[in-house]
């Protein structure tokens, strides 16, 4: 657990941004990963007083405040309806209910963790992040950016009629995923993201016209790079990715 000299529940995003410019200060989301470090922090910045713990739905998009918990995403009926249960499926395996009542959407996305089910899930959709100074940028771009001192305010998921499916494999319940796959489809336009490779999730887009699910999966899985760690080898991950992408693509084909 880290130590901290001060704790500030900010009254505005400007205050949060200003405090966050100092390298020793840190914005705390759910703190599940942050607390695993032993460093010394100056000020812990808390955004929980800014009303950013709501999921708002309009005709065009969902706006997820950075302080929404993973459990909120998992249970939100609007997200469930719009994206075919992809949120529930990607989140329900993450440790336990108590953990998901703590972990925040903002913290999960900002961290861009290699093991992240959340990032994998969101990348398959038309997702954007809203940064306090940087404005709205596509999540795909954000995922590749270096860490900056900006404040992640919201996550925007556009309702573009895309259907999506999610699958992951774990060596044991509640562990990090060995592989995480999300597939979405709008007509012949397919978006496939694969995370826990064990690198952070990336997304590719494919034209699926005239291709079977198996051909699509082979092509998609071959475009990602995989690595080995204590949970599995690169070869095993590559094999799993192809199998999961094919199953998810088949599921979406049946729904069409």
């Amino acid at each position: 657990m880290f130590t901290a000299r001060e704790y500030v529940k900010v009254g505005s995003l400007e205050e949060a941004w200003e405090l966050n410019q100092k390298r020793t200060n840190v914005i705390a989301g759910g703190m599940l990963w942050l607390k695993m470090g032993n460093g010394q922090k100056g000020t812990v910045i808390d955004l929980s007083g800014l009303g950013l713990d709501q999921i708002q739905e309009t005709e065009e998009e969902f706006s997820v405040g950075c302080m929404c918990t993973l459990r909120q995403l998992e249970l939100d009926p609007g997200l469930e309806r719009a994206f075919g249960g992809i949120f529930r499926e990607s989140l329900r395996h993450i440790v336990g209910v108590q953990f998901r009542n703590c972990a925040t959407a903002g913290g999960s996305v900002y961290g861009r963790y290699g093991f992240s089910d959340v990032l994998t899930c969101l990348l398959a959709l038309d997702t954007w992040v809203e940064l306090y100074k940087g404005g709205r940028i596509p999540l795909e771009e954000f995922a590749k950016m270096p860490y900056t001192r900006d404040v992640l305010v919201r996550i925007i998921i556009r309702k573009d009629g895309r259907r999506a499916a999610y699958g992951s494999q774990r060596n044991t319940k509640t562990d990090f995923p060995l592989i995480a796959c999300a597939v979405s489809r709008k007509g012949d336009s397919w978006q496939i993201s694969v995370g826990a490779r064990p690198k952070k999730a990336e997304r590719i887009c494919l034209d699926g016209a005239g291709k079977t699910a198996a051909e699509l999966a082979k092509e998609a899985a071959g475009r990602f790079a995989y690595g080995s760690n204590m949970r599995g080898s690169a070869e095993y991950r590559a094999h799993l990715a192809e199998v999961y992408i094919r199953r998810l693509a088949e599921k979406l084909e049946k729904e069409a």
């Binding site: 657990m1 880290f2 130590t3 901290a4 000299r5 001060e6 704790y7 529940k9 705390a28 759910g30 703190m31 599940l32 607390k35 695993m36 922090k41 000020t43 812990v44 808390d46 929980s48 459990r71 249970l75 329900r92 440790v95 336990g96 209910v97 108590q98 953990f99 009542n101 703590c102 319940k173 509640t174």
Partner: protein, 158 residues
Amino acid sequence: MEINLTLNGKKIKAQIRPDELLLDFVRSQGCRSVKRGCETANCGLCTVWLDEKPVLSCSTLAARADGRTVTTLEGVAAEAEAFGAYLAEEGAEQCGFCSPGLIMNVLAMERELSDPSEEEIKEYLAGNLCRCTGYMGQLRAIRNYLNRKGGETDGENR
């Protein structure tokens, strides 16, 4: 820094360190049921309710509890005792170290889910680890406890 909160139904004001964890704070207030198990946010032993929702007190700053309601096993003693009797009836405990966290999450589940299936129970309680048992006794006890009113519970499936 100073925080004001309701702990087990009692309004309190307290001085805390900025980096003090809720786990250490509630223990300093006499709530010794709350224990540090894994300290990696995996075992569920430190479960308390923050505004009625189960959270991991080993990973929550006490400062986050300011203005909110915290409930530990001590605050639901009668319910805990009632469920504990079902655990005992099934011989579901060995060392019993994990029981406070499990009981807090079972009682939270009872409030949140109505007539949960076995799979729903397992999913809800996946974050409560027990190193002694194979969970079978606990599951029998949980089913019996939830069925004590003929299957009726007060919660609502979400």
